[in-house]
């Protein structure tokens, strides 16, 4: 478990030099050398704060570098954070915030929903991100990823990965299955997280606005495949994502996610029950539904998300989007690249859980 705690900080160090120091300082504090008082105060700040604050879950770490003088920081930090928390509460209570046409609530996503997902991302799945520099700093781009894991946690983790690691603070807008928008509560959260329906109209509108769009073209075939077929890419839909990218002239960024396949090993599929409930599949795993809600806890696998080299699409003539042959070729190219990277990452992986 000690290993598991260290790894996220290693991630942090690679992502920004500023965080490196507090991580070390915290280590010093726990060894009872250095300045334990300051460290403890800072730790308390994290606990006192009752409201969803401006800072993410590891706030006790990321706040410190901003206040360098040793006395000033704790008071100023506490005050500022309480104030910003209350200002946030005030805006939420009075409805004084903006959402975009798709219902994306950036403030809520940044300050609450991401903070809820981040512990899962950092501490539970210990996601390692590679190739984040392949995502352009501006302009539209289409991230195409493999899909697995029975529940679409991989999409959410990919969103956290882009949100937390990309230097230009880009937000990933995921395209989700229509089932997501039928289910109560789920549809509300999905819209607020910036997801929208996987259809050409929405994708083109988002790409046209220069957004970063994420799509998992395998859909239910990928996410609901049996455990035995793990890391075998399914058919990539009808290649609609390629024609969308071609029409908008945005690059396609292949993305390979390793680790999501093993979170719920699907050993069976209760098809009748699925039909009754209107779901595309009803997973049976070694623990679900036998252990009830406890069985719905995913296995704590170690994840790697690798963003690959962008495949440019702006060199093609406008009528290329109507060319089925080119579309199939490009679809295959993207698929091959993801599959290849998956195998490479699997070879490098030491174990499923570490």
């Amino acid at each position: 478990m000690a290993d598991a705690k260290v790894i996220p900080f290693d991630d942090d160090r690679s992502r920004s030099a500023a965080v490196q120091r507090p991580a070390r300082r915290r280590g010093a504090g726990s060894r009872r050398t250095g300045e334990p008082a300051v460290v403890r105060e800072v730790g308390e700040v994290g606990e006192v704060q009752p409201l969803p604050g401006r800072f993410p879950a590891q706030d006790d770490v990321s706040v410190t570098p901003e206040e360098e003088p040793p006395r000033q920081p704790r008071d100023g930090g506490l005050e500022r954070r309480v104030a910003s928390g209350l200002a946030f509460l005030r805006r939420r209570l009075t409805g004084d915030y903006d959402v975009d046409d798709f219902g994306y609530d950036e403030e809520l996503t940044d300050q609450v929903l991401m903070s809820l997902l981040r512990p899962v991302y950092d501490k539970y799945f210990r996601v390692e991100v590679k190739g984040i520099e392949n995502i352009p700093a501006e302009g539209g781009a289409l991230i195409v990823a493999n899909h697995s894991g029975t529940l679409p946690l991989d999409g959410l983790m990919m969103q956290v990965a882009v949100h937390d690691h990309h230097p230009a603070d880009r937000h990933l807008r995921l395209l989700a299955a229509d089932l997501v928008f039928v289910l109560p509560v789920v549809n509300e959260l999905a819209r607020k997280l910036g997801h929208t329906l996987a259809c050409a109209e929405d994708a083109e509108r988002l790409l046209g606005a220069g957004e970063l769009v994420g799509v998992m073209p395998e859909g239910f075939k990928g996410i609901g495949k049996p455990f035995g077929e793990r890391y075998k890419l399914q058919r990539f839909g009808r290649g609609g994502f390629v024609s969308t990218a071609l029409r908008k002239g945005v690059p396609i960024i292949p993305c390979s996610i390793v680790g999501a396949e093993e979170i719920y090993p699907m050993i069976g599929n209760a098809k009748t029950l699925a039909r009754l409930l209107g779901f595309p599949y009803f997973p049976l795993t070694p623990t679900f539904p036998w252990l009830g809600p406890l069985g719905a806890i995913p296995l704590p696998t170690k994840w790697t998300i690798q963003f690959g080299e962008p495949i440019p699409t702006d060199g093609y003539p406008p009528e290329a989007a109507e060319d089925p042959m080119l579309m199939f070729n490009l679809t295959d190219q993207v698929r091959e690249q993801i599959q290849h990277t998956l195998y490479k990452l699997l070879v490098q992986r030491r174990s499923v859980f570490f």
Partner: protein
């Protein structure tokens, strides 16, 4: 030679406002206001002719007045006064057919403007997030006003085919709100507590009644240079408000109910006549609806003065404060801020606002 404008549905607030507005335009000679009932508001000196557009008399009115512009605003979701749903449907559909028949025979009519609604897109979870004028609805509205609007637009398209010399403009309005607007959504927002559907937070778009009048005026005149005012246009203010935001800005608490309960409560409320909570209204308040307004800006050349949020703010000002006024909540948070900061031994900072 000036224009003669014939306006239907003038007994409603919006129709009355439009008649008063268009009369002030210099190129308009005469405004003929038509409705089945005498309006309670004044029409600013327009000639009022009491005629039911469901009857063939409308053809005679059109021929006698020699109108060259017809603005059809009698396509509405709710009855005026104590009409039943059947009357409303007849006025919408049969009335439009009669009016279009009259227009087809009239040699003078050069321009037809129809007030439609974004209801024609329906509202379903499988729809794209933003509708453009060409988006086909995934599920055609099965009844109610939305179906009327779809049928009205169908007849208008038929008319446009048969009379290609007439410029036809269909304006699909998002929910019209404003201090005097009398729409089902306005009465919904006037409820002391807002019943909502549990687990859904629909995206809503509003258009201010001033903007509605203005765009109708633009559509009923000759197009400005570089613009085109025939065709179908979505009309909505910029931006989107979620229902939860609306309720907070109004200061009216919400009561989330499960979807079947909402449907049941809707029919109960409808029976009691408190508010018109029709099934399509429930669908709107479940899945929401957002339309693209690029055509309105680029082709029609209309820039709404009010955004969705500003429209709603204007509407909120015209209503009394709700049970949880946002100012009171903001004040409470500010007091907590003061107390917390003083409690921790520091002077309150102005960062809380």
């Amino acid at each position: 030679m000036g224009k003669v404008v014939l306006v239907t549905g003038v007994a409603r607030q919006l129709g009355g406002r439009f008649v008063r507005r268009i009369q002030r335009d210099p190129q308009v000679d005469r405004v003929v206001a038509v409705d089945a009932v005498r309006p309670e508001h004044h029409l600013g000196g327009a000639d009022f002719i009491q005629a039911d557009i469901r009857q063939p008399t409308i053809a005679r009115v059109l021929a006698e007045t020699g109108a060259d512009t017809v603005v059809h605003m009698d396509v509405t979701g709710t009855a005026l006064g104590s009409g039943s749903r059947t009357t409303v449907k007849e006025t919408n559909v049969i009335g439009t057919m009669q009016l279009l028949g009259a227009c087809q025979k009239s040699p003078t009519v050069k321009r037809l403007v129809v007030k439609s609604s974004t209801n024609v897109y329906g509202s379903a979870p499988r729809d794209p997030a933003v509708f453009t004028e060409t988006t086909p609805p995934k599920s055609l509205p099965s009844g109610g006003f939305a179906k009327d609007a779809v049928e009205v637009e169908g007849y208008v398209r038929g008319f446009a085919r048969r009379r290609p010399d007439v410029a036809v403009c269909v304006l699909r309005f998002a929910n019209i709100l404003g201090p005097t607007a009398e729409t089902p959504l306005a009465s919904y927002f006037s409820l002391p507590v807002l019943p909502t559907v549990f687990g859904y937070d629909p995206r809503l778009q509003f258009v201010h009644e001033d903007d509605a009048v203005e765009v109708l005026r633009i559509a009923s005149h000759e197009p400005e240079r570089g613009t085109l005012n025939s065709g179908t246009f979505n009309i909505a203010g910029d931006g989107v408000l979620l229902l939860s935001q609306c309720s907070r800005r109004l200061g009216r608490p919400t009561v989330p109910l499960l979807l079947p309960a909402v449907t049941w409560a809707g029919s109960l409320v409808r029976t009691l006549g408190v508010s018109d909570f029709s099934p399509e209204q429930i669908r709107l308040l479940t899945h929401g609806r957002v339309v693209a307004t690029d055509q309105m800006r680029e082709t029609l050349g209309f820039k709404p003065k009010y955004t969705t949020a500003e429209t709603f703010a204007d509407f909120v000002r015209s209503r009394g404060p709700g049970l949880l006024p946002p100012e009171a909540l903001a004040g409470a948070v500010d007091r907590i801020a003061t107390l917390t900061l003083r409690g921790s031994g520091h002077l309150p900072t102005q960062s809380a606002n």
